[in-house]
């Protein structure tokens, strides 16, 4: 067996190396254990046969293996507008907005300020309009809402401004999970309808090393019980919360995910769960979290591979450039992040639109990221390789030295064969100059203005809006 693993080796999902990760994770779970801060979670695991000592839970391998078998291999997340359902079956990669920053660079003034609910609303609207963005999330924290009502307000802000599926994070209590379930149920006509066709899903961050948040895990139990798919998202950071070697980081992330999946399957057998991760590296010069170093991208690509290994739908952290402004660095870092993770078959890439390691929102960045997302999707999409596509008869007919620009065949096939960019400039130099020699960030900004001025999301009936507002008021106390 090799003692090194290359990214291209990983394209074979059966690779021996993934079994090694699994084995090392089981060793950690059985012989080191995971700290579950939640007493409820500890009780569930203890009753099922795990060894609990204080807050540390040692989970035997057979419990984990049994749980992994129960986790569904594929499911869908539905859109309230009915036109943007996403199918998580490993056959395509969907792009979600990134979350959750606490600072925004104000679109009008350019000043860095605390994030607000209005930011979530505007970003949901922008993403609703961008074809390449499939899933919306509260991209920043609604810091101007009450603490009690924050989780439900953030979800409401999304649902009001998009008809696409929504994913939430930062839900840190069972109460907040319940609030989000009831809000979504108000839209689809009840909790049973939501269970059948969930219009949102959630993921919970673990606390590396080897620790599960109290409120987050209890929120997850609530979501799982309600039939809302829930994922577990470690962000172990090499050299700080995992050892500095990449293989160790992978084993740790994996242990954290499968320990939570085990808990879910014991509490709600057959619960829809997601295998997630946003591992990162540190910058050795400062200790700073880095999501788009080559090593972090490698780790995230392996998260996608591990989800294939377990055959569970995935949310993989992507993007989150360290750049503080939209531009060259944000472009190269995010592009290099989206490509291998998509090729590895991540179901959802989380995400697009934030800067400064997911700490800063600028409205322009998502347009730039959407362009890359569209290109990657297109690059990885199936290409027509039928006899008709080879068009040999036509080539014989036109012969050497002919032209295809004015052919009926071209007209008939061109829209399927070729795509058009959202933003990328392809004009001649003179045209580009005449049009104002606008740079890509300025073009993105113009697009944002255009969307905010004119785009309307799928409507919500007044009675539904009223029910939603009542729930928000009730939970904001």
């Amino acid at each position: 067996m090799n003692s090194t693993l290359k990214l291209v080796d990983g394209l074979c999902t059966d690779h021996e190396m993934f079994k090694q990760v699994h084995v090392h994770s089981l060793d950690l779970l059985e012989n080191c254990g995971i700290r579950f801060h939640s007493e409820k979670a500890r009780q569930i695991l203890s009753d099922a046969g795990a060894k609990v000592s204080g807050e540390i839970v040692k989970i035997p391998g057979h419990l984990v293996e049994a749980a992994l078998k129960k986790a569904p291999n594929t499911f869908s997340i539905y859109s309230r507008d009915g036109k943007h359902d996403v199918v998580l079956d490993g056959q395509q990669t969907y792009y979600s907005q990134d979350g959750c920053a606490a600072h925004t660079l104000d679109f009008e003034t350019g000043q860095r300020r605390g994030s607000t609910r209005a930011d979530i609303e505007k970003m949901a609207l922008i993403s609703d309009s961008l074809d390449a963005i499939d899933i919306i999330t509260p991209t920043v924290s609604a810091a101007d809402t009450t603490v009690a009502g924050r989780a439900i307000e953030e979800l409401e802000a999304c649902f009001l401004n998009t008809g696409k599926p929504v994913v939430t994070e930062s839900v840190t209590s069972a109460r907040d999970a319940r609030a989000q379930v009831e809000l979504a149920a108000a839209i689809v006509g009840g909790e049973e309808a939501l269970r059948q066709r969930p219009i949102f899903f959630n993921f919970v961050c673990t606390i590396s090393p080897l620790t599960q948040d109290a409120g987050g895990i209890e929120a997850a139990l609530e979501f799982a019980a309600a039939g809302v798919p829930v994922g577990f998202y470690p962000m172990a950071t090499t050299g700080v919360t995992s050892p500095v070697t990449l293989a160790s980081n992978l084993a740790m992330d994996n242990a954290e995910v499968i320990s939570a999946v085990t808990l879910m399957q014991i509490a709600s057998p057959g619960a829809k769960v997601l295998y997630c991760g946003g591992p990162a590296t540190i910058d050795l010069r400062t200790g700073a979290y880095t999501a788009t170093s080559p090593e972090a991208i490698w780790l995230r690509t392996m998260v996608a591979h591990m989800s294939n290994f377990y055959n569970i739908p995935s949310i993989v952290g992507a993007g989150a450039t360290s750049a503080k402004t939209p531009g060259a660095q944000s472009a190269w870092e995010n592009t290099l992040s989206y490509l291998p993770t998509s090729q590895a078959g991540a179901d959802v890439l989380f995400g697009a639109g934030l800067l400064d390691g997911s700490n800063l929102l600028t409205y322009e960045q998502i347009v730039l990221d959407a362009e890359v997302a569209a290109m990657v999707k297109r690059l990885l999409a199936p290409v027509d390789f039928s006899p008709e596509a080879f068009s040999v008869e036509l080539m014989k007919e036109i012969g050497p030295g002919g032209v295809y620009l004015d052919q009926k065949h071209t007209v008939k096939n061109m829209r399927k064969a070729l795509s058009l960019p959202l933003l990328s400039d392809r004009d001649s130099y003179d045209e580009w100059y005449k049009k104002g020699h606008v740079g890509s960030v300025a073009a993105a900004r113009a697009k944002v203005k255009e969307i905010l001025a004119s785009h309307q999301p799928a409507p919500l009936p007044d009675d539904v809006r009223k029910s939603m507002r009542e729930l928000v008021a009730a939970y904001s106390k």
Binding site: A102, G114, A143, R150, T172, I207, V240, R285, T286, G287
Partner: protein, 211 residues
Amino acid sequence: MTGDLSQIASSLYEGDEESVSDLVQKLLNGGAAADQILQEGLIAGMDRVGKDFKDGVLFVPEVLVAARAMHAGMDILRPLLTQSSARNVGKCVIGTVKGDLHDIGKNLVKMMLEGAGFEIIDLGTDVDPQAFVEAVREHKPKLVGMSALLTTTMQNMKATIDEIGEAGLRDSTKIILGGAPVTEDYAMKCGADGYASNAAAAVDLARALTA
């Protein structure tokens, strides 16, 4: 002896705790003054570490490992040092505020403050405002550091500062804040004395406030 002193500095630079302890003890046994060992051995070594870190030659983990070697030497010297030379820059009470379980940043700040000579009282995570008040009362620290990762727990920073004030202890200490959602502006609004956006900046701020 000069050879041994410069070897202490080198061993400290390399992060070799055992060698530092052995050499410090050897010099003491030979009659050398504790103050001199401190200045020409330990501090000389740590100064080179600091310079090379600023110049990008050494990385954060190397600084922390060197600091641990420095502490090993300090533990032996401390009882023997004269008052003026004892490099105890001050006590710092540190913790993550109530409701928040995240502590990576807080732990990095703690390690780097220790490297800079502060004595840290770490209250851990999910720390009640009253626990901060009690710690200030008991330890009389020069500095209090608070950390939060969530926008929903940040408000406990102001609550804690207010309770320290209500206990009549506000003027007895300097309070600094940190964490991803925190800003300079927010820290000022809470009535803190400062804000740092990363661990190295926290050390500079701590030094400035306790000078």
